[in-house]
Symmetry: C2
């Protein structure tokens, strides 16, 4: 069986590919991205495809007639899509549409798992959102992800693909370097001090975020494909359970686990643009439907930090 | 001042053009459609443009640098978009995007009024929806209108256009002949008997619909452009107030106003596809925000029918 991961050079794409490779049923795991992935484990089943998701011809060729499962992770992230509007529209909306069209017209009727984001929520938010909360995104990234979800939903309803749009919480702790997501600091303020490096926190300490660790995010992507379509019913759009923490709680976990010196590497300096974007995000969510479907949040902020240390720091040493 | 109406050959486009022509401030009223409008009153200020909204070059030329206001009514209607999926995507999603792009890049910063539809609502609906009801469309037309709303919202937030997405109830009584909208029967069962013609009602008598007369729909489109952007605030998506009636109440109004013979011209014969689509629509709505913004529903089903007689039957005689 064959699986495609777009955004395969991203940290989540690589972790997902590695997790999938543990299952011998996958005879080929195709990683597509605009650059080749770096640091992927050795496995003969990995195929690297470098290309541009904005090109419908390339995307059409990517979805071969023997493709069983597509994970669509490729995206222009939040702050980047806000600054470069056309790029965001081209990659996040048109790219998703091209990939869905390719899947629709392939002979294999592939399953289509779309990585959406809680950035679809915005506007007049409740303190705790739930599965009935109206979706009024206030950043272009969220608008484009909402439109992607709607396409996945309608393509599934029409029987063009067996789709699932999984709305991921903010992923913390991301490994590697900061990216152009407005949320990147939430990882930096944990990751950098644990490595003995400085990090700037651009939002106030009481800012609240709804987060999920990379481990649990990979679990969610695997579970999203393992569930039968009937488990989702007509509604293929789902918020994945996460946990809500203040930035202060996140910083305190650094002090608790790595000590006062590590904690003091965090510099607090508000960036109004980031504060505005993050302040407009869903602070907490009652993800009842996701929990009923067996998706699992992290236990605590400490478990999130320990998982990062195990997977990224100890693994490197 | 100059105004553009896409879908200008449709009944609503023509009524809107006629209403706009009463205001001398409009020096040119451009009606764009794939065919020329028929039965438009004589007015030197009307300019007819025949073309294809699926062609971004044509759409780009349409939005001249002196265009002050754009009414985007052109659409592939519900049952048609359900049968011809690609046509619906091309006209309803891509066409809307092309027009927004043309408006964004014109020098006049035009106001953009998008005619959306309560067909955006679907799924597990409450008995009475409201401005906080989650939008989970269950037909492709509703999905495409939702995506159009999201684009209008984001283009407005970014300052590309001064947009307003007005979610119109089902328009009853439409003049002329039945179209490919799943809701077309709601007009037919009133219009045809009043003209002494037979009409088929493809849904059960207890089916409930949220409707608005053409007169009030034109009023809503005028009001949507007359309000300052500040009246809408950040949320440029708005459900226009209508009234909820059962199909039985609609048929009874025919008996009351035109007599038993007219009523007996209605043949009751359920079409499962139409019943399924209409059964999935919003049956009633508390349009508080729209009412606060001064939009007005019809008084009664009788006033809806009388308006049709005055505007369409007596006018013709």
């Amino acid at each position: 069986m064959k699986v495609l991961i777009t955004g395969g050079a991203g940290f989540l794409g690589k972790k997902l590919a590695t997790a999938l490779s543990a299952d011998p049923k996958w005879s080929e795991i195709v990683l597509f991205d605009r650059i080749a992935p770096v640091g992927l484990p050795e496995d003969d089943r990995f195929t690297i495809e470098v290309g541009d998701i904005r090109d419908p011809v390339q995307v059409g060729k990517l979805v071969t007639n023997d493709m069983d499962l597509i994970y669509h992770l490729a995206a222009v992230v939040s702050a980047d899509a806000e600054t470069n509007f056309d790029l965001g529209m081209d990659v996040n909306l048109k790219g998703t549409h091209y990939l869905l069209e390719a899947a629709r017209h392939s002979h294999a009727d592939p399953m289509f798992v779309f990585a959406s984001s809680i950035a679809v929520y915005g506007g007049d938010l409740p303190e705790v959102g739930d599965d009935q909360t109206i979706i009024t995104p206030m950043i272009s990234y969220g608008v484009q992800k909402t439109m992607g979800e709607l396409l996945v939903q309608d393509y599934s309803r029409k029987g063009f693909v067996d789709g699932r749009a999984l709305r991921l919480p903010t992923i913390v702790v991301r490994p590697g370097k900061p990216n152009k997501a407005a949320s990147t600091f939430a990882s930096s303020i944990i990751r950098e001090p644990l490595k003995g490096l400085k990090a700037v926190c651009p939002v106030t300490a009481d800012s609240r975020m709804y987060i999920l660790s990379p481990r649990k995010a990979v679990d969610a992507l695997l579970r999203g494909a393992a569930l039968p379509g009937s488990a989702f019913g007509w509604n293929r759009r789902l918020t994945i359970p996460g946990k809500s923490f203040t930035v202060e709680e996140m910083a305190e976990s650094v002090r608790e686990i790595a000590g006062q010196k590590a904690f003091e590497l965090i510099e607090w300096k508000v960036d109004p643009m980031i504060q505005r974007i993050v302040g407009g995000w869903m602070p907490d969510f009652d993800a009842s439907r996701g929990m009923q479907l067996g998706f699992e949040a992290d236990e605590s902020i400490q478990s999130v930090v320990h998982a990062f240390i195990e997977d990224e720091i100890e693994y490197q040493n």
